[in-house]
Amino acid sequence: MGRRDLRLEGVTKAFGSFVAVDDVTLTVPSGSFFALLGPSGCGKTTTLRMVAGLERPTRGRIRLGDDDVTDAKPHQRPVNTVFQNYALFPHLDVFENVAFGLRRRGEREVRRQVAEALDLVELGHLARRKPAQLSGGQQQRVALARAVVNRPDVLLLDEPLGALDLRLRRQMQIELKRIQTEVGLTFVHVTHDQEEAMTMADTIGVMNAGRIEQLGAPVELYESPLSAYVANFLGQSNLLRGTVTDRTGDEVGFEVAGRRLTMTAARCRSQSRQLLAGVRPEKIHIAPAGGSRGAEPPAGGAGPNGLPGGRNVLPVGMVTDASFTGVSTQYLVRLPWGQELMVFAQNLGVGDVIPVGAQVTLSWEPAHTFGLDGSQDATAGVEAVDELPALRTAPTMSTPAPGAGAVGG
């Protein structure tokens, strides 16, 4: 199998009047690790299935290199999938599961290739077990070996780590990345976990309601989000509504609730006067108002941009929550106009946790601010808090009571 780029051109999928995937165009360079990131229902799995051939696009083309595979059936494409529930054949042992694709293609040297694949995932010693006798993590690795052994042009992974516990998941993230670089295959990984995407991927595509919001490397997406959705979905953002007051060559000055703040012009994406100024919680410095505490912002008068100490400052905040998580302390600070900002103070071992109710001053480097168009909804991309996680019990009643779908409804 050759090494070819995967290209989606204007791919759209509609189920009746519901548009699951809306005009998606992207290129995944051969050999790279691409993550398709988004919440449940955003269309990422449907996109994946179209690349696999398990769904047919309503419009658009899918190409591998120069070959148009849009109409090809799954078994005619050099694309393999690692399914969310692994889909290991229960009636075949591990060896035969991994060998399945090889045998269908009439490959020779099945035994050697299967052994190699199992060694890659470190499961050579379990070749003769049945899937039911394996743990969840082991099953997942068998599913991976089963796909990798066929050296496809594109390897698709549909939230493969979702069923694993946290520690195992971290481990597998590193493993997957290692395997991908070692074998050199193109991986397309679908996930709703933004940390997972940022850890593993070379390029991330953030999806929202069937559309790609932003494509780029993790750092780029994190530090320079193009929309409130991306800003809120990747990590956490504090978004302040403001009005642009002045623009010089390098700098954009703006006003939030009467205070003057600035940011670098390069990072301001708003062309109009309306602005959503964003700053990440880990970039904000928090200090008790008027007191001295550990590392303070440089004292002294106004800096060159007219700001105290050259930094953006919001005085008169009040701590409403302080959670010590070991690595850091996460604060919620309420500002006079009612908005609560998140601040992550790294645990440097200096000073105590600032108590709830204390008055604090917040400050940060202007260069750490990013600007978004102010006409957006500042809460786009924030995970809905009224969605309770699915009850993890097996269904017990034979007849679901009609209309009883909403828990806590």
Binding site: H75, T81, F83, Q84, N85
Partner: protein, 272 residues
């Protein structure tokens, strides 16, 4: 208001009885279930000649010579032949229908479902009587083949229901995975679908055989002069059933019990 903690001092045997009431009851119920079996087994050892109504003495002769009463063996053979033919036919036809229902879209689904459900809901008397009526109308004499035709008819529905349930419980991603791994539709069916549905087909076949072997009412209406085992027992009930029939009944019981227990062991081992 929170009810106060009940503090009742019951005598220990009474409390034991209360806690184990259900289990004790179950023991009694099982006893009740096995009464006729016990009787049948016991009287298969009766030294009774033709009329097995009164206990005369213990003997192994009936077991050593189960065809001592030749009518018993003839009837048994007929039942087995009918059962085999009906099972094969009903399982084949029913499995095909089950696949069509579970995996394909087509028009006339409601009619199909109705036609499958109705025989199961119709009293056997009506099924038997209607078939006989039709046979008489077309001047076919009831005999061996009419029995087979009738048995296949009422077995198909049960096969369809059993196999369909098994197909429905199949994880759809397994077939998608097979296609993803370069198996075309036929290969997917042969290598993934069929092996996984096979236990359901087997269960359906066993069910069909059991239904066919034990059927009396429909058979009685449509057998003419041919005698199956249940019909033989019925007819000889008044003058006395030869003990060899008890032997057959006991043997059937043991065979069926063994098959089911082996099946349980096999699936338990597979699960481990």
């Amino acid at each position: 208001m929170v009810p106060p903690v009940a503090r009742r001092h019951r005598a220990r045997p009474v409390r034991w009885l209360g806690e184990h009431a259900v289990l004790l009851y179950a023991v009694l119920a099982f006893g009740y279930l096995f009464v006729p079996i016990g009787y049948t087994v016991a009287f298969s050892f009766n030294d009774a000649g033709k009329s097995n109504l009164v206990w005369r003495g213990f003997t192994l002769d009936n077991w050593r010579n189960p065809c001592g009463a030749p009518e018993v063996c003839t009837a048994l053979r007929t039942s087995l032949e009918v059962g085999l033919l009906a099972t094969v036919a009903a399982t084949a036809l029913g499995t095909m229908v089950a696949f069509a229902l579970a995996r394909h879209r087509f028009r006339g689904r409601t009619v199909t479902n109705l036609l499958i459900f109705l025989p199961m809901a119709t009293p056997e008397v009506v099924l038997g009587a209607s078939l006989l009526t039709m046979f008489l109308n077309v001047r076919v004499n009831p005999g061996f083949w009419t029995i087979v035709l009738a048995h296949v008819m009422f077995c198909i529905s049960f096969v369809v229901v059993t196999v369909k349930a098994r197909i429905a419980s199949l994880d759809p991603t397994l077939e998608q995975a097979a296609m993803d791994l370069y198996a075309d539709e036929w290969q997917t069916f042969r290598r993934v679908t069929l092996p996984l549905v096979a236990p359901g087909i087997l269960a359906a076949a066993l069910l069909a055989f059991a239904l066919s072997f034990d059927d009396f009412i429909i058979t009685n209406f449509n057998s003419g002069n041919v005698t199956t085992f249940p019909k033989f027992v019925y007819v000889s009930a008044t003058r006395g059933i030869p003990p060899q029939a008890n032997v057959v009944g006991t043997a059937m019981f043991l065979v069926a019990l063994t098959v089911v227990l082996l099946g349980q062991l096999a699936s338990a081992r597979r699960r481990r």
